[in-house]
Symmetry: C2
Subunit: 459 residues, 2 copies
């Protein structure tokens, strides 16, 4: 506890400077998806590398890619300790609609205990927590510094991430024992959260083909099958009335939730009524026997993301269309395999398609689910750190979506990711008036300092 | 038969002139849907009115509308005879793609027994048959002339037909006992055909609404219903596996085909194999117990003309859409009522919609089916006329589509329509190289002369 007291004192004494520094970081207009900000992104990367260098980290590099640069640094002085890889991104979302902002998104403002600026929560502020944490250790107890590698990309908010290629091409260089990421949010304010699982995904596009051209629905209606009827029949057979996916073998590899996990989820402050009213729906719907959180976090599903066929303009056009298309994706949980599930879905689609139509199926890729067991040291020490820093028992959550970079870290580096984020549900990420709680920023620096220390001493 | 011999002699002696005249008619670029041809349409109407006047018809008028003009004329000298209203249209389809024509579409060409020109079959050539028929009677046996009213519109190929309004506003002026239309085609070459029934139609647009915005399919997939699943379920319940519509009461008012009608249809030269191969499908599909022709001509059906929901662009977007839309139409047969059927469908849609979504239904109008009983004098005399003129027993057919103007004539004027067309399946109407058989043109003049005479003497 003496070490921790040292951290707290250091952080307390330097918190104003930390905020001044993160403001400098936030002033860079590092919008990765807008080409007019290409130089801003580069300048931000340079600023970041300089700052990291000033902290005493080593091997600081701005690595060129075919897109925006990657910033790398490391500190590797404990040969017998595990190595932590910290991932973050210094690029930000566009700011439009600018008129809905109360302040200039690139002139940070401290108001009511929050930092208002684009990127304050997603992800510059959270990334900066890690830099201030390693600074805290190096300035107070340098011998406790863990083996650490920092990898910050500038393309998380753009389409293609060249970091994915970089990871695949440099597995030795990036070798590590766990990947720590702060780019997620707490389940609720005051409730520190660790995300230990992500769903995977697999995509298919199915085209149901009828006649060789659009036909007049008067001259042909009733004589032949209509691809929209056929595709509707196919779609309606993908799930049964209990919300379970009907694809044979779909659930074969699914790891059931443990009792502990179910209890964890159940104690989260979640109101189904508020959830429905916020979405404007009357009731939720899904696999019987599982709660909403269980279904989105830990149960696989099939969704139709889009459908089209025939006339979709205004008014009327009396045709039987030549074809109809559905975009299908399945969300996967450990240990479903994206390719195997795509194969099973494809086989089932061909089986249930009526003989009156032809079927073309295009596989569109996907990624596997990610899971870091709750009882692993990476997760357990994250819990301890959060509890010590915030004085609250943290909760274990999962995320229904996929974070492709996590899956790449897991599959290429064989390193389990731990998502220990500090955002809050009201941070307005990707929206006007993005903000980040100062409590979470400063408390996060403390928590991560402790986390690094606990991981570093694990040898 | 003496009268008929007189007709034949007159037509034989004047056939070359008839062709010269119809060429003049066809030279007018009366493309109603293209505003640059507005004057051409008007000039065509004037030419037509002048020509009709030269034949000795009376009350010739070019009636202005908010669109293109209507040409009207009559000849009413048999107070005790029924009155025939003849409908046709002098406007034509656009000619694009012009490069696929072998000749100038507005410089008619006689080749291999066919007249090549835009409008030769649809509908100037067929309209002209009626003018030459009344000329034949007036020049050989004027005392046999029937009570006749000609109404020719210039907007059949454009969107809105102002003739519909004109009919509704002038039912007394247009009063008649039957409406004769030559704007259809024979079932096959050498097989004169009378169309005595048209299907009606009713349109609905159904919007299935889920969450109040598109949602991330990772964060929400499995928790709530997806409107595309819901709309697919709804659509798949509209027909059973035997191809029958499941809407309660849908078939209540349907008049079953008579044995005679079924025999008529069955003797038509129709190959299901050729039909399928021409459409590029493996097999037909529809209500069990009825042949293809029975299904499209005399059985009602429901079709989905279009569907859309969610992401329909290239590639992937992982959303659960806020809504999905289907454009639904039902084809109706006597005596289904378009409004009643729309009500029944709407009720059923609301019944089968899952409780997880909201439904919005928009009625988009429609029209009732048309039927002129085969044993009516209007149809029977059409049969006699065709048989006498072409020496072949004509066939009775129906049409699966709707011709809105027929329904207006039927509902407003209470006059049963007879569709006695002279086109052939290979006429390329609406396409490049439209043509019209000279045999059918000249034979048609003979048939219509006889038909007018038979109807005129029915007093």
């Amino acid at each position: 506890m003496k070490i921790m007291q040292g951290y707290i004192n250091f952080i307390d004494n330097n918190s104003e400077r930390f905020i001044v520094e993160v403001f400098d970081f936030l002033r860079h207009k590092s919008i990765s998806s807008q080409s007019e900000h290409k130089e801003d992104v580069r300048n931000c990367a340079k600023w970041l590398a300089n700052h990291i260098h000033s902290l005493g980290l080593e091997n600081v590099r701005v690595i060129e890619t075919n897109g925006h640069p990657i910033v790398y640094a490391d500190y590797l002085h404990s040969p017998n300790s595990p190595t932590i890889l910290v991932y973050g991104h210094y690029d930000v979302q566009p700011v439009e609609p600018i008129e809905l902002w109360d302040n200039d998104p690139f002139e940070p403002l401290l108001k009511d205990g929050k930092i208002y600026a684009r990127g304050s929560s997603d992800d510059k502020g959270q990334l900066f927590i890690h830099l201030k944490a390693i600074e805290t250790i190096l300035r107070t107890n340098p011998e406790k510094a863990p083996n650490i590698k920092f990898v910050f990309e500038g393309e998380e908010e753009a389409g293609h991430s060249h970091l994915e290629d970089f990871i695949r091409e440099n597995p030795e260089f990036l070798k590590c024992d766990t990947v720590v990421i702060s780019d997620t949010e707490w389940f609720a304010e005051g409730l520190p959260s660790i995300c230990y699982g992500l769903r995977g995904i697999t995509f298919l596009e199915v085209k149901v083909i009828g006649p060789n051209r659009d036909l007049h629905s008067g001259s042909f209606g009733g004589a032949i099958d209509n691809p929209i009827f056929a595709i509707s029949e196919i779609i309606s057979k993908l799930k049964d009335k209990y919300g379970r996916v009907c694809v044979p073998g779909f659930y074969d590899e699914v790891i059931e939730l443990s009792e502990e996990e179910r209890k964890e989820f159940a104690r989260l402050p979640f109101s189904e009524k508020t959830y429905c009213s916020e979405l404007g729906i009357n009731n939720t719907y899904g696999e019987i026997g599982y709660s909403v959180l269980e279904r989105v976090w830990a149960r696989p599903t099939i969704e139709i993301n889009g459908i089209y066929g025939g006339y979709t303009g205004e008014g009327i056009k009396t045709i039987i269309p030549s074809y109809a298309v559905a975009k299908i994706s399945a969300r996967l949980v450990p240990r479903q395999d994206a390719v195997e599930i795509a194969e099973k879905i494809e086989k089932f689609l061909l089986e249930i398609a009526p003989p009156t139509v032809k079927i073309e199926i295009k596989r569109m890729g996907g990624g596997n689910p990610v899971l870091t067991p709750i009882d692993s040291i990476w997760v357990q020490k994250a819990r301890d750190s959060l509890k010590l820093a915030f004085g609250v028992e943290p909760v274990f959550v999962r995320e229904g979506g996929s974070i492709p970079i996590c899956e790449t870290f897991q599959s290429v580096l064989k390193a389990p990711p731990v998502l220990i984020g500090f955002g809050l549900p009201g941070d307005n990420i990707h929206s006007p008036n993005e903000n980040f709680s100062v409590t979470n920023f400063i408390g996060g620096i403390c928590a991560i300092s402790i986390y690094y220390t606990l991981l570093g001493s694990n040898s």
